[in-house]
């Protein structure tokens, strides 16, 4: 019997007043808190008689430690960090400055290096970083300023009063598998806040609730996503220099799939590599983790990794939809930052700098709201305006139609992209439409039984323990851990669909697209198709792929008990 997580009813919840609650301690949330603190300090220095307090400003971070759930390649464009903390390079943990980039087009055994690196992928001036370490450092700076970061606490629900967001409810702790309070049960707190800032990363669960409740996305393109599967490797010296950046297109993907790989040289012979697969592929049997393993079989990668050791694994989704997929980002008592809003440049494959900038802009608006003691939609709308007149818009406007161009396949996409580059992003029309990724998924009946050209991407990877790993082995290296005795935080709204329809129509793709072996179809003679959906929620790495890719859209990811999740040390 699957019991799904939901806030316990009929229990008295502690109430805690707050001025500002930032949900999510990633780069956007931390930048917001830092900027807010700067503005308050400056104000207090000038206004000894009307001091503003930081006492009631909180950051909620679901991981046990700051940065623990942060995963990215990553390459940091320092533009916004330089605005936030001039001279930050002197104290921030940076692996290396980018020294050279190369873009390869791969076929199964060979590679073709693009003679010119396309402008969006030129990274001179950027830094190779570990986002986990960078955010940890940002967090220490936030704590120094006196803003409280609550680690191990998730935002479970938003609180409303009519059309106003009035706060956040944190997760209930100590609830058993059947949904009953255990002896150490602690109800989630109601943080009654003047302003709630959502910085949950891609496919934020509170953001999803908010967008759905107020139909915020009605005028926007549907958001589309990719999933990045990453491995961190220690390799013998001399293979790749710190700051060396490689992008690949093509193999192992076919023209039907969108995606590509990155390889970044970090310091101490640590290599970050990963494969991003657009979550709009047609064959439901495709397994993104398998795609990464196939990629590693290419001689370019095998030569790099031979004799090395895989030290960490992880996965995270990323929003590709671009400018047109961004919903309104401010409203009555709320603002949305970073990947939760969709501030990601899918041509440059960068979003961290945009997340940071959005955090700074939201902080300025939140500061005004604090001063005026007014956080109505009218006041918070300033954030929307700031974004639209900032370099966030400038940058994203130029690539506003990038991902949509690929809906018809690789060659169409390249054509549109080329056109967009010389028309300031317009291409054939100002706004290209988009379809949600899961709508591209075809039914098994429409596809060749043996997978055709995609066969090598379908189904689970078989590991050799040295270069290629099966999913369970990879998963072990994500360090993911949860309190075992709790309800499932992957909510399936109708398991009959899983057991009766999906098995036949799509072959249960959840088993394939989940990078963490959460979903399994087990034998069950009582079911019409002989199989039943079974979950291993404690394997979850919080990537949100299932919430995004499930063809029936019946999966809702909510945060599990705070403190649980992957351990992305060094990622």
């Amino acid at each position: 019997m699957l019991v799904f997580r939901k806030p316990i009813e009929g229990v008295e919840r502690p109430q805690m007043p707050a001025d500002i609650v930032i949900v999510g301690g990633g780069p956007a949330g931390m930048a917001c808190a830092l900027r807010l603190s700067q503005l308050i300090d400056a104000h207090n220095a000038q206004n000894p008689d009307s001091q503003l307090s930081k006492e009631n400003i909180y950051v909620l971070e679901k991981a046990r430690e700051i940065g623990q759930h942060c995963l990215s390649g990553a390459l940091l464009d320092p533009r916004s960090m330089r605005e936030l903390l001039p001279g930050f390079e002197k104290e921030a943990p940076l692996d290396a400055q980018v020294t050279k980039e190369a873009v390869y087009f791969l076929s199964q055994k060979s590679k073709f290096k693009l003679p010119i690196t396309p402008p969006p992928l030129r990274d001179h001036g950027n830094y190779v970083i570990s986002l986990n370490r960078f955010v940890k450092w940002m967090g220490s700076k936030v704590e120094e300023t006196g803003i409280t970061i609550f680690t191990g606490f998730a935002g479970a629900e938003l609180l409303y009063d009519g059309d106003r967001v009035t706060g956040v409810r944190t997760d209930d702790k100590g609830v058993d598998k059947e949904g009953r309070p255990k002896s150490n049960f602690e109800p989630g707190y109601d943080l009654n806040a003047k302003v709630v800032i959502l910085a949950e990363g891609p496919r934020g669960s509170l953001t999803k609730q908010l967008v759905s409740k107020f139909d915020l996305a009605k005028d926007a393109n549907p958001q589309t996503y990719g999933v990045g599967i990453k491995e961190l490797w220690e390799v013998p010296g001399g293979r790749i220099a710190p700051g060396e950046v490689i992008y690949t297109l093509g193999w192992p993907l076919t023209t039907q799939e969108y995606g590509g790989a990155w390889i970044y040289g970090g310091k101490d012979n640590v290599v970050s590599l990963g494969f991003v697969t657009g979550l709009d592929y047609p064959d439901p049997r495709l397994d993104p983790q398998r795609v990464l393993q196939e990629f590693k079989k290419h001689p370019l990668v095998t030569k790099l990794l031979e004799g090395g050791k895989m030290i960490r694994y992880g996965a995270k989704s990323m929003p590709y939809g671009g400018w047109w997929a961004i919903p309104p980002v401010a409203g009555n008592g709320w603002m949305i930052l970073g990947d939760s809003a969709g501030f990601l440049n899918s041509a440059r494959l960068k979003g961290i700098h945009l997340a940071i900038k959005s955090g700074m802009l939201a902080a300025e608006t939140a500061f005004e709201a604090l001063k005026k003691d007014n956080s109505s939609a009218a006041i918070l709308a300033a954030y929307q305006k700031k974004v639209e007149s900032s370099w966030i818009k400038d940058e994203l406007w130029k690539v506003r139609n990038m991902h949509q161009g690929f809906e018809q396949g690789f060659y169409a996409g390249m054509f549109h992209t080329g056109l967009q580059m010389i028309t300031g992003g317009r291409g054939l029309r100002n706004r290209y439409p988009a379809h949600a990724g899961h709508e591209h998924m075809r039914k098994l009946a429409e596809l060749p039984a043996d997978g055709g050209d995609e066969a090598h991407l379908l189904g689970p990877a078989k590991g050799d323990g040295k270069l290629i790993f099966d999913k369970l082995t990879d998963l072990y290296h994500s360090g993911t851990k949860h309190e075992e005795d709790q309800p499932s935080h992957l909510i399936i709204h109708d398991t009959n669909i899983c057991n009766e329809r999906c098995v036949k129509e799509y072959g249960s793709p959840c088993q394939n697209f989940c990078p963490a072996n959460v979903y399994e179809m087990v034998d069950d003679a009582t079911q019409p198709n002989g199989k039943r959906i079974s979950l291993n929620p404690s394997n979850c790495v919080h990537c949100k792929t299932c919430d995004i890719a499930d063809p029936y859209q019946i999966i809702t990811w909510v945060p599990p008990e705070g403190g649980g999740g992957p351990n992305y040390d060094g990622m």
């Binding site: 805690m16 430690e65 944190t170 150490n184 602690e186 707190y189 030290i311 851990k481 351990n567 040390d569």
Partner: protein
């Protein structure tokens, strides 16, 4: 000439002074806690191969979390004060912060990198020196640490303080001036022991469900006092380590897998033969 009443007063005062913990109604408990590398953290050896490298994630030693939980429950039953103490570099303060967030009243941090390299004997000596002006009724430690696994510090501390002690404690009941504890023994046996106070107890893990820190607890923890004790303050009490890790290494497993073939009946006989004669488990 002192009246009989006076004499009685003098006698009572002397008695009370010797047993001053009786006079106060407050039960003061010290919980010794340690920060250890996270359970699943990949460990790397330092250059000298005598310890691990610092760049690893840390967490509270899980047995100590159970000791803290027990102390908090005792305080709830008897009113009192729970003080937590740890020794280690700045990062180990996290353990104290979490304890304060869960409800401990104050903390003592022997802060210095050098404390990491002290053996159990010296660690206990440092603790004893740091608490010499306090008057605790009970001192709890976890069963053992997840990094060293010696299970000694609590027992050594008891001897240094001249206090009675008991180990692997499942249950504590406090009476007026003494406690009755339940000791776990091997093979499913248990034993109750009556002990006077003050005493040192090492607490078994898993005896209670650990409580969660609440948001309010975390906020309040920021204002709870953490007394810092520098190495210099306890230097006089500690000496050279009495034992030395000559080398730390990854255990080599020279495993040669032996296949056992045949019919199930043959396999059974071969296995039993091995179990009996080679492995000596039968």
């Amino acid at each position: 000439m002192p009246s009989a009443n006076c004499q009685l007063l003098i006698y009572t005062d002397k008695f009370a002074a010797r047993n001053s913990y009786v006079r106060s109604n407050v039960l003061k408990i010290l919980v010794c806690m340690k920060q250890v590398p996270q359970k699943d953290a990949p460990l790397k050896l330092n250059d000298a191969a005598t310890w691990i490298r610092e760049d690893v994630s840390y967490e509270v030693n899980e047995p100590d979390a159970f000791a803290l939980e027990e102390a908090l429950r005792q305080r709830e039953k008897h009113t009192g004060e729970v003080v937590v103490i740890t020794s280690g570099p700045a990062r180990s303060q996290q353990v104290l912060r979490e304890a304060l967030a869960k409800g401990a009243d104050r903390a003592i941090h022997l802060e210095d990198n050098a404390f990491v390299g002290l053996d159990a004997f010296n660690t206990a000596k440092a603790f004893a020196a740091a608490i010499k002006d306090e008057k605790f009724d009970l001192i709890f430690t976890g069963l053992q640490s997840d990094d060293y696994g010696y299970a000694q510090t609590g027992v050594i501390l008891a001897e240094l303080l001249g206090w009675p002690h008991a180990t692997i404690i499942m249950h504590i009941e406090k009476n007026e001036t003494s406690i009755r504890v339940k000791r776990e023994l091997e093979a499913g046996f248990f034993q109750y022991v009556d002990m006077p106070l003050p005493a040192v107890l090492t607490i078994q893990s898993g005896i209670n469900k650990l409580r969660y820190a609440t948001l309010i607890g975390i906020k309040q923890a920021k204002n709870k006092p953490i007394r810092k004790v520098a190495l210099a303050e306890v230097q006089a009490a500690i000496g050279e380590n009495l034992q030395k890790i000559e080398r730390l290494y990854v255990p080599e497993k020279t495993k040669k897998t032996v296949h056992i073939d045949g019919t199930p009946a043959e396999i059974a006989k071969k296995l039993v033969d091995k179990l009996r004669n080679e492995l000596r488990v039968l």
